[in-house]
Amino acid sequence: MTATDAILPDRAPGRLTADVADPILARRAGRIWWACLALFLALTVLMVVSLTVLAVSGVGIWGINTSAVWGFAIVNYVWWIGIGNAGTLISAMLLLTRQRWRTSINRFAEAMTLFAACIAGLFPIFHLGRPWLFYWLVPYPNTMGLVPQWRSPLVWDLFAIASYILFSLMFWYTGAIPDFATLRDRARGRLTRAACGILALGWRGSARHWQVWQGYYGAMAAMGVPLVISVHSVVGMDYSAGLAPGWNETIFPPYFVVGAMFSGFAMVVVLAAIFRRALGVPHMITDRHFDIIGKVLLAGSLVMTVSYATEWFYAWYSGEPAEQRIVAVQLWGDYWPLYWGMLAGNCILPQLYWVPWCRRTLWVTVPVAIAINIGMWLERVVITVVPPTRGYLPSQWGSYWPTFWDWALFAGTLGFFGLLFTLFLRVIPAVSMHELKEQVDEEVRA
């Protein structure tokens, strides 16, 4: 086994702790970090401005119309929640299946999940038109004598996203408790020590603490796996419960779940590459990690290709002209560059991952992962825009074009995601120190 084949770093536990904790506690933020912070802060201001203008003026400032009622709001919602899918998958499913390589990436993947899910949740709320009444989706006793409409996918969304965000937050925090204790013990400033001490909940690392923690963490992981499936299944059902041809398909929930993991893993690749540079930890996130994630992405790409092919097949096999028209419009209609861009990003380019060298070489892996993210975003545009504008009633046919505010909000949320991530790197241990040390120790014993 050569050095590049290793998943786990070959270092003493104390060095590992220092590698992760020092960037937070000892080292000052570099110039690049401040530059990133400024850029992302500016974009976040753009997001706040877009949302304010939206709240004041109403959804008419977007490109949506009576045919394309969803537009960018739902496109970006699905895209963000899809990215938010991989974190819990990596944390929970790979924990239960004892995949050792998850250890160095799970913490920031969970952070990615949490941030992306929170941003995703903004879009359906602001798409409501009167976002300040979003709490009407919650079944609470009210003087209106009403309960939410249980047949509405919007209500399913609320429960799916809210439970997912709550779970992600708790799981993320639970995993970080022992690391907060480490920070508390290493920190010098009184305020840092107190803050980390509160977050560590009095963790002393006793055998009993570990026993309780492991039982709790494992149980949470077991509960998290169904959530990974459910949250994006519900997103898929948002579409398949609609009556438009091209939406009303039973394949949507599984197809959306795989798509979500696909885009989420692609985002993990991009963030892992940035993060490895930013913190200088190539011994923790090794080329082997990119190798493994490349294989996952390749499998995801194949499933997505089969899903698209299934849609084409069923359009033909059903003999339903409206379904066939949707496929034809997607392939050859006004939006053809988007559809072919999607096929390029999701089906064709990931085939490079068959070659081991491509998986391990960052300047190939990362561009392909970015292409996947763009491809998945285009997929959501095509799915969201085409069916309602080419439905059963030709009188309802229309088209969709995003406005400045659509783009501004999208760019703003990208910046907000960046901002949260930039802050995360300086506040919370970005690698799960205790799990990494545990695994290194197991390796040494074995």
Partner: protein
């Protein structure tokens, strides 16, 4: 290294953890509960008016019909407020020098409006129609309370959507026979008689299946 937390920290933590859940729940419960209070609904609120007009005196005691002043109640959405001329049909002679009626006389001689203050104010997105209700057996007192017993008019019911729906979901028991619709006081005895309810529903030809459609009240 000195201790970060003193001996009290454990107690604080034990209190803080449940408080993280209980305090938000308690605040939300309070906010939810407050929706039903008179403060939020305006129930039992007495609104001051330019002239202390007594509905009790004019209806139950004197015997004037509701429709004498609220002339459009059977034909249009709004029950209608009387012009000063309606007041003057009696008060040009009756209590013509009374101090209390000075604003009415000023309105009459100068041609200015009497600015009555609205008591029953529904949200603008509700399309309430008086004529639909009174011509289908919903008595004035069912929503406005015992007007014949009010010296100053007040809001007798909460006027929340849940209150509207109580009747829209099961209108039968609230219906009155045509001769009772404009009575100033509600009937004394509770009348729960399935046969009579059914007879009223049939008589007014009420289709209960569409009464709770969103578009019945929101258009």
């Amino acid at each position: 290294m000195s201790q970060i937390f003193g001996p009290r920290a454990n107690t604080v933590a034990r209190l803080a953890l449940p408080a993280l859940v209980l305090v938000p729940v308690a605040i939300l419960s309070l906010v939810i509960f407050l929706q039903w209070t008179d403060n939020a609904t305006g129930e039992n609120r007495i609104v001051s008016q330019p002239v202390p007009f007594s509905h009790r005196h004019h209806t139950a005691e004197v015997g004037i019909d509701c429709r004498y002043c609220h002339t459009t109640v059977t034909e249009s959405a709004s029950a209608g407020l009387p012009p000063t001329k309606t007041c003057m049909t009696c008060h040009s002679r009756l209590y013509a020098q009374e101090e209390m009626l000075q604003p009415v006389r000023i309105s009459w001689t100068e041609g200015t409006r009497l600015d009555w203050n609205r008591v029953h104010d529904l949200a603008d997105h509700v399309y309430f129609n008086h004529s639909t209700h009174v011509t289908n057996g919903v008595a004035c007192t069912t929503c406005h309370g015992a007007v014949g017993d009010m010296r100053l008019i007040g809001q007798a019911e909460p006027l929340t959507m849940g209150w509207c729906l109580e009747c829209h979901r099961d209108p039968g028991p609230k219906l009155s026979p045509p001769e009772r619709v404009f009575a100033p006081l509600p009937p004394r005895e509770a009348r729960i008689d399935a046969g009579a309810i059914h007879a009223l529903l049939t008589r007014y030809d009420i289709d209960t299946s569409t009464l709770t459609d969103c578009t019945t009240c929101h258009r």
